[in-house]
């Protein structure tokens, strides 16, 4: 009975602390380990634009964007403009499609991804702080640390790669606007994808 009570309290606390990030507000700080074991913090990139990409190789929506080269293309375009790209995997260690750091790093290499760093967030702390709920779920942070975009990678919520050319790539548009010093016109869109497989607290 006591354990159930504490469990409920913790669960409530967990849901209460989910998604504190709001567009237009300072992006939550975080520290995580990358696939090579190095510690990476958001504060390391102060003064630069940062894109956060939540991913899970087993998800058909992620496969849509990686299989077609769309995500890699967006990453390369961002890198060419000096934008830092952090790919984050918040899949719990006990989930069926969990990939260990080495395997995750290998998968990113196979896909020829152009992310600055791939971060492992198996305990879901970073994901919960940002309210990341789908894979993919994209965020753009400006050099002052303010969250300027949160939402989908593009405007057609399907698993069909043939829909990519006709869709608007929200991240490319947001980066174009924020790099030019303009406010992001569509700062919040509905993200689509598979649910992020968070660990139970």
């Amino acid at each position: 009975m006591k354990t159930m009570f504490t469990a409920t309290l913790l669960a409530l606390a967990a849901t209460a602390s989910f998604a504190a990030a709001t567009v237009g507000q300072p992006a939550p700080a975080f520290t995580a380990t990358d696939t090579r074991g190095k510690t990476v913090s958001l504060a390391d990139f102060k003064g630069k634009h940062v894109v956060l990409e939540w991913t899970n190789p087993g998800c058909p929506f992620v496969v849509k964007h990686y299989g077609s080269g769309n995500m890699q293309g967006t990453q390369k375009e961002a890198a060419a403009k000096g934008v830092v790209w952090l790919t984050i995997n918040s899949t719990a260690a006990d989930a069926g499609d969990y990939k260990a750091p080495a395997a995750m790093g290998a998968w990113m290499n196979e896909q020829k991804a152009a992310a600055t760093s791939t971060l492992m967030d198996a305990d879901g702390k970073v994901g919960r702080a940002y309210g990341a709920r789908t894979t993919p779920h994209m965020y753009v942070i400006d050099p002052a640390g303010k969250l300027v975009y949160a939402g989908a990678i593009d405007s057609k919520s399907t698993t069909n790669p043939a829909d990519i050319p006709g869709a608007t790539n929200h991240v490319k548009v947001a980066l174009g606007e924020t790099l030019a010093g303009k406010p992001v016109s569509l700062a919040s869109t509905r993200p689509y994808g598979c649910a992020v497989k968070y660990s139970s607290m």
């Binding site: 300072p26 939550p28 700080a29 640390g145 300027v148 405007s155 509905r190 968070y198």
Partner: protein, 744 residues
């Protein structure tokens, strides 16, 4: 050697032939590119297309088609709003000409939690039924139905699946389905039972308050009272799906506070939603009308000085201490900026022709009074108090009316012809007073004048109130931004912004009253003061001209003429009652005549200002060959055909709008750019009250005019330009539009 080879070769040959045989068998065993049927089976679901005709399948009779999806244990598909992730099942019908299929009748969904996330969908057996209309004259003995269905089925992983289905429904009046007809009928009936029942319209309202949606629903089944209800919105991207609403029953009305998604992407005016108690198969479908404005939560909010942000602390995010990371509803930086802008805007108001005459005369009055410093300072503070209180009261009125559901924005007072007429009358009287036609002392009872002398502080306070009344038509350019932000803030902060505006306006007067050095710097009194007083009458009359023009836009030329008649009558009455040189007999004679004339004038004006008379006047503001009247449908249609749209939200009484209209929007280079890019130019005229325009302004995060919005073709959000429009800004914005391949 040969013998060895022979044996090995034989063995190899046998192996190969076995392999070939197996391969051939395998190929033959594969279903030969399966012809589409009414059934598709995958490892996760069995999907079947069924037909149901309660009165027999024939032309002109009701017919239902449905996709039955039987999910394997623990696998699920999604509702029309899938929740935090997932995709709804889609059905694409190919039917013979004349036959149409309606929308899916979605059964009441189930909550499917996934850790801290929440989805809405279905498990086990699901029937997605659509009504089909077969016209009475339809020829053809059978109805050939083709369906392309796509669904996302998930357990822990998600698998996008789909299938092509065909079904032939004989239109012979018999019951389709053959042997399984009874089972099919039962299935359709059961699914019908699970559909949410629509409640009568107008029973559900919601308002946005501090990051949550406060919902009130009446008209729910009596048996549900006191029970916990689950809330399923059909509109995605609004609420925090995983949060449990804080709900209670007030008699027969269900009230709940539902947390909003901090990364909300929609701002709907109506949210259809399904409410269902635990354990019930069928819920209730309500149309929740959102009565308040949605806060603009984008990064377009003014946020100067990014260094004012607290330094991002390094270190892990401590998610267990959830209470330490509160969700801010109002950006503190935004508020400080709004307060500063309001202060500056208020100070600038003093230069407007509405306020300047009154202010300058009061300030000059300091030089002629030998009163002691303390009294002068007290007078200044009383004036400031009067100004601030009036602004806050006006703001409170605006916010209260908005909370009560009125679609109002700043400048709302000027949308009423009665208010415009009253202001015109007030300004005329002030102008005549300054010009020396009459003295207030002679008009007002002597007791009043004595009271003014006895209570100088009250006098100063009322002067402040008068100054605000007189300032309201002249809105300074950047007041719009801070006010647009203010109405989206919580009440206390919004009132603080308006108070800052008042403070800014009172500052010059307060400064002169507080620092005698400034008062000493004022020029010494003399005859010139009399001339100056008369001179100040003319800006007052100029403002009257503008107000008459505004009224003309609202009530037509007849209304404007009626107002002018009223002003003449008023002037006559003021002279008759207040001219210093008239004797008492003359005053009585002319006074009575004036009273009669005034009564006639009011009788003439009143009908012209009535709401229906005003509504009958066609809006003529700014419609010329280039600009067309705005409507949301026109915007959508133009964008769908690939044309960019530029919308000018304007009003006759908005000085900045008129200024931009005659300068930037009339600039030859800008017009050339508009033509080259085939931009559709639309004008939304807010001179009179218009709920549709107010709602659209709210969607854009503004509460007043001017607003300039540029919509690129497609579905992206609009780009809102600044209020003092510059030619460079418009041309830059147009340059970012995608290139047209063929410009006419």
């Amino acid at each position: 050697m040969r013998l060895h080879c022979l044996r090995t070769c034989h063995a190899l040959l046998r192996k190969w032939s076995a392999g070939v045989f197996l391969l051939a068998a395998g190929l033959l065993a594969l279903p030969a590119a399966s012809a589409p049927s009414a059934v598709v089976v995958t490892p996760q679901v069995r999907a079947e297309l069924l037909a149901h005709a309660p009165a027999g399948a024939a032309a002109g009779q009701p017919l239902w088609l449905g996709l039955r999806i039987e999910h394997k244990k623990h696998w699920h598909t999604y509702w029309k709003n899938p929740g935090d992730s997932g995709l709804p099942t889609t059905l694409e019908w190919t039917l013979p000409a004349g036959v149409t299929a309606g929308d899916i009748a979605w059964p009441t969904p189930k909550k499917l939690p996934v850790g801290p996330l929440m989805n809405f969908g279905y498990e086990d057996t699901l029937l997605l039924a659509v009504p089909v209309t077969v016209p009475a004259g339809h020829s053809g003995r059978t109805l050939e139905v083709q369906l392309r269905a796509d669904w996302l089925v998930c357990k822990e992983v998600c698998i996008p699946e789909g299938g092509d289905f065909v079904l032939s429904v004989p239109l012979d009046g018999g019951v389709p389905g053959g042997a399984d007809a009874a089972a099919t009928a039962t299935l359709f009936a059961a699914s019908r039972q699970r559909e949410p029942q629509s409640l009568q319209a107008g029973q559900a309202q919601a308002a946005v308050q501090d990051g949550a949606l406060v919902v009130r629903v009446a008209g729910l089944p009596a048996a549900w009272q006191g029970r916990e209800l689950a809330f399923f919105p059909e509109t995605a991207g609004v609420i925090a799906n995983a949060e449990v609403p804080q709900a209670r029953w007030e008699g027969a009305v269900w009230q709940a506070r539902i947390a909003l998604d901090p990364q909300r992407s929609e701002a709907p005016t109506t949210i259809p939603a399904v409410l269902v108690p635990a354990g019930e198969a069928a819920g209730a479908l309500v149309a929740v009308a959102v009565t308040s404005a949605w806060p603009a939560a984008t990064s377009t909010t003014t946020a100067p000085g990014a260094d004012a942000l607290p330094a991002l602390g390094a270190g892990t995010v401590d998610s267990s201490a959830g209470a330490e990371a509160p969700v801010n509803t109002a950006p503190p930086i935004g508020l400080a900026a709004a307060l500063l802008l309001a202060l500056a805007g208020g100070a600038l108001l003093n230069l407007m022709p509405c306020v300047f005459p009154i202010l300058s005369l009061k300030v000059l009055g300091f030089a002629s009074h030998g009163r002691d410093r303390r009294k002068v300072l007290a007078g200044g503070l009383a004036y400031t108090a009067g100004v601030v209180i009036s602004f806050v009261a006006l703001a409170a009125l605006l916010l209260a009316l908005r909370a009560g559901g009125e679609q109002l924005g700043w400048g709302f007072q000027l949308q009423s012809p009665v208010v415009v007429a009253t202001l015109a009358a007030l300004f005329t009287l002030i102008g005549l007073n300054l010009a020396g036609v009459f003295e207030f002392g002679s008009v007002l009872p002597s007791s009043w004048a004595a009271a003014r002398a006895r209570h100088p502080l009250v006098d100063s306070l009322l002067t402040g109130v008068l100054a605000v009344a007189v300032a309201s038509p002249c809105t300074a350019p950047f007041m719009g931004v801070s006010l647009g932000l203010a109405v989206t803030l919580p009440t206390v902060q919004a009132l603080a912004v308006f108070a800052a505006l008042g403070l800014g306006m009172a500052l010059p007067y307060l400064a002169v009253s507080a620092w005698p050095a400034l008062a000493r710097a004022m020029p010494r009194p003399g005859v010139w003061m009399q001339h100056f007083k008369v001179l100040m009458a003319f800006p007052m009359f100029a403002t009257v001209v503008w107000l008459v023009w505004v009224l003309g836009q609202q009530a037509g030329i007849d209304g404007a003429a009626a107002l002018l008649g009223l002003l003449v009558a008023l002037a006559f009455a003021a002279w008759a009652l207040g001219a210093p040189a008239l004797g008492s007999k003359a005053r009585l004679g002319f006074g009575s005549a004036a009273a009669v004339v005034l009564a006639l004038a009011v009788a003439w004006v009143a009908p012209a200002l009535k709401a229906d008379a005003v509504a009958a006047v066609p809006a003529t503001a700014g419609t010329d060959a280039r600009w067309q009247a705005w409507s949301p449908e026109r915007v959508a249609a133009a964008r769908a055909e690939g044309r960019p749209v530029f919308v000018d939200f304007t009003a006759a009484w908005c000085v900045t709008c008129q200024f931009n209209k005659r300068t930037t929007l009339a600039d030859a280079a800008v017009l050339q750019d508009f033509d080259t890019r085939r931009v559709l130019l639309l004008r939304a005229d807010w001179t009179r009250r218009d709920a549709v325009i107010t709602a659209e302004l709210t969607k854009l995060g503004r509460s007043g005019v001017p607003v300039y919005a540029l919509y690129a073709p497609g579905n992206a959000g609009p780009r809102v330009l600044s209020e003092i429009l510059s030619v460079a800004e418009v041309r830059d914005a147009l340059a970012t539009l995608p290139q047209q391949t063929a410009a006419r």
